[in-house]
Structures are given as C-alpha cells and as structure tokens.
C-alpha cells in the first residue's frame, strides 16, 4: 500500500520534472511543476502512513491512551500542509512571472529569454 503510494508519488515527480524540462512553454512548465509538487506531497503523506491505523485525531474513536497504537504518523501530515502552501505560493509566483515575461516579449517560450548568458 505504502509502496504503491510512494511509487505513484515518485512517478508523478519524475513525470513532472520531465515535463518541466522538455516543454518550452512556460505555462506548461508550471503545470508540470505542480504535478511534481503533487507527487512530492503524495510521497510525504505516504511516508507517514502506517498500515492499519487511522487519522491522528483524538476523538471518540481514538482515545488518548491508545493514541500511540492507533494513529498514523501525524508529522508528515503537518509537513505536507506546509509543503502544499509553499508549493502554491511558488506556483502563484511563477504564474505572475510568466505573465510579466509574456508582457515583455509577447512569448511564453522559455528559450526566448536567454539574453543573460555566458
């Protein structure tokens, strides 16, 4: 189960990276990166998974005393939230950049923005 989730996550990451590196369109690159981000998030969550356990919320189903035996690892869950938000922030930022770049050159092809080199 965890392996499958992990594998899925990794495949998403790889696919995202491949997409980001082969698509010259900036918007496509951004989309590819969101895919990769998603993959990362999947990996994060998958690592926190313990077989046969439940969400880390101490309610009626999970009494405090048995919490340690009943819940999955809450830390990756917390981390993934942060990761998602950060990914979101960066994606938004990239989009804004993409917009500015488009305004600048009338193009979204990343190979058109190579004035700075060597």
């Amino acid at each position: 189960m965890a392996q499958i989730a992990l594998a899925t996550g990794f495949v998403l990451i790889l696919a995202g990276i491949y997409g980001a590196l082969t698509n010259r369109d900036i918007l496509r690159m951004i989309v590819a990166f969101t895919i990769a981000d998603t993959g990362v998030n999947v990996v994060l969550v998958a690592v926190g998974f313990l077989p046969g356990r439940t969400a880390p919320i101490l309610d009626a189903a999970v009494p405090v005393a048995q919490a340690a035996e009943r819940i999955i690892d809450p830390v990756p869950q917390a981390l993934v939230l942060t990761a998602i938000v950060i990914g979101l922030g960066i994606t938004a930022l990239m989009l804004a950049y993409a917009y500015r770049l488009f305004r600048l050159r009338g193009s979204l092809d990343i190979s058109n923005f190579t004035e700075l080199k060597w």
């Binding site: 990794f10 790889l14 590196l21 077989p51 101490l58 917390a78 939230l81 938004a92």
Partner: protein, 233 residues
Amino acid sequence: MIRNVLIAGLVALLGVAFWTLAAGYVPDAELNRTAAYYAANAQTDVGAPNIVTGIIVTWRGLDTLGEVTVLFLTSAIIALVLAQSKTPPGASGAGFLPSGELLTTGSRMLLPLITLLGAYVIMNGHLTPGGGFQGGAILASGVLLMLLADPSHRFAHSVIARVESISGLAYVLVGLAGMALAGGFLDNGILPLGRFGAMLSAGAIPLISVLIGLKVGAEFSSILESLEETEDA
C-alpha cells in the same frame, strides 16, 4: 528530440535513485519517537484533539509562521510583479464578456455558505480536520467566486491589506506573548488549555487559527485580485 531523450535519461537515472528509496522502504510498524511523543502529549501539551493541528500551530509553529509568510511574500511579490502592468482603476474589465446569469446568481447564493464553511473549518481546526489554512483557502475561494462573477468589481485594497497586516502582526505578537507568558515563542499556553475537545480549548490554537485563517484568506484574495487586475485578465 535528442535533448528530450537525454533529459529522459537523466530523469530515468533520478528514477533509479527514487526506486532505491521506494524499494527499500519499509513502513514503520510503530510510531517513531517523535510521533509517539505527539500522540502521548497532545492532550497535556497543547490540548488539541487534532494532533496535526497541534503540530502545525504549536510544536512546529515556526513553520507555520513561515508558511503564512510565504503567502504574504507571494502576495506582495505578485503585486510587485504585476505592478507595472496594472491598469488604472475603473478602466479594467471593459474587455470582458459579462459573466452569465447563472454564475452571478449562483455566487450570490453560495457566497454566504462558503464564508460560513470557512469560518467553521477555521474554528474547529483543533478538533476536527481543518484549520486556519484550510479555512482561509475556503474563504478565498469565495472571493474567487465573486471575482469570476463580476470581473470589473474592485475590492477595497486597504481593507485586505489591513486584514493581512493586522492578522500577521497579531500572530507574531501572540508568538512573542508565548515567550513572555509561557514556555517560548509561539507557545500556545498563553491561554488556558481548557477542556480537552471543547471549542474554546487548546490554549491559543483557536486564536492562532483565526489569525491564520484571516491572513491566508486575505493573502489569497490579494493574490487573486492582483492577478485579476492585470490589464488583460
């Protein structure tokens, strides 16, 4: 094409690394010591049934403050990025097709519900799945709906900015208060932990959740708005 093949090769090599990771992965049978500590001390330390929220808001509160800052930064920077392209107020939106009746009416109906849901998610973050981020995002989706429904509508920038600033500042102050009154920066113990599982419990978590929610909502709104206000959006 060659380039793509090369990159595919690189990605494949990276995949090998990942494969090593995945293949060697054995799920833990037991909670590791950190998680175990959280599970054991959620009630006594933070008083929040939702351990994840407890981690987010308290134990790893600094991360969360950082997250909020990420959004703050993003919104500020997007405003900066798009600043030069911004059209004068009032002139924008002229080029849009008017949004449909369905959308206008639907948004009018949904908006209060969305707001309510957002508020709920925020307030119950320490009890049930949810929290400031989730709620804030929901609130912002309401704003998005409004923007979609009426592209030429202008929000009061200063209001959003104030909410953004005040909630952020308040968050920092709460953190500092933790240093002054309790165990350290961002300690939620500045307020009484209250009864475990109650609405107003878990110390400052609900307060921080609210601040986060407001902050996140405001930031998202601000981002959306900035994006929307570009001249040909």
